[in-house]
Symmetry: C2
Subunit: 182 residues, 2 copies
Amino acid sequence: MAVDRERVLRDAAGLLMRKSGATMDEVARAAGISRATLNRQFAGRDALVRALEELGLTECESAVEKADIDDGRAADAVRRLVRELEPAAGLLAFLYSENQLFEGDGQNEGWARLDARMVALFRRGQEAGEFRIDLSPVWLSEALYGLLVSAAWTIYEGRVASRDFTSNITELLLGGAVRRTE
Amino acid sequence: MAVDRERVLRDAAGLLMRKSGATMDEVARAAGISRATLNRQFAGRDALVRALEELGLTECESAVEKADIDDGRAADAVRRLVRELEPAAGLLAFLYSENQLFEGDGQNEGWARLDARMVALFRRGQEAGEFRIDLSPVWLSEALYGLLVSAAWTIYEGRVASRDFTSNITELLLGGAVRRTE
DNA sequence: CCCATTTGAGACACTCGTGTCTCTCCTCTA
DNA sequence: TAGAGGAGAGACACGAGTGTCTCAAATGGG
């Protein structure tokens, strides 16, 4: 039977999210295949990580597409975006810790493109008067990444319910912890 | 001359924050000492990581102390806490990615104690009517960790100014991105 | 100034993960 | 049913990183 490459990648991501230094043998076992087969699919650990990076990037971009982040109110766009990003959060948490991906010449420019779109979303919100202007769009988008990772990790640890993923992130990011008095 | 153990730890943290898989040789070079001396100070990589964990924990606890998080308004306490936590943010970012620290039996219970104090702070804010109650204290404290890491990383990358560290985190965490209408 | 201590540099063996190969077994298809 | 293709299991050598040791040089105190 043919190996489901995508499935292998998802299983690998599931393991690597919580154990970023996992052995190729452990990855193979997590995916339910042998190390030999894993190596037939991905020529080495580096290729596996690159494939995971590509998968994560693709998922993020498709989430951005599906969320129509250029339409309607920026705050609603952020909510839709986070909801669409949820399935990719675990993978994102792993990639976030693979800081070696983001330094050096071979850096994937896809992240820069994605980042530009996120920044543009927050900037749009500012220009529309929805968002405050004393928090830079760059910081807001970076904070969103951080909250996605925190949320994924916290849910994995069982400290918060997975159904609260989207609301936890969006409510905190948009509304903050302080109670509204209006 | 005697090796400044604390200095070595800080240099190591500075390197490991941005390159978590750095070699012991690289760590030694970053600290300006030889690999032999590094090994004399810390018996193996594991011991080094443990020492970094201890240092990070100590710094966090001292920040919690200095911030007097049980006094005054909770929101102000959070601001003081973040300000005190700033020097430890880089180290925290490294420890955050060392997820192996937080699983298994040898887990340092100091983190649980620290976490309890953070959670208590947010709960106090809720009970005082300062914070909204639809975001759990657990999530708020976890989100704070995530924002600390994001901020440290973003500053390291030069995407935001280091002087905005505290305000970026506290304003987002407490006030959120949406502009107040009050 | 001399001696004790400590550091740096290098060599060494060892471990662990990796990449590759072979061989066998299974499954699907003609 | 026979054959082809793919997967699993295991063996193997290789490289990187590690921990340890030795020896020479430097430092600092008495």
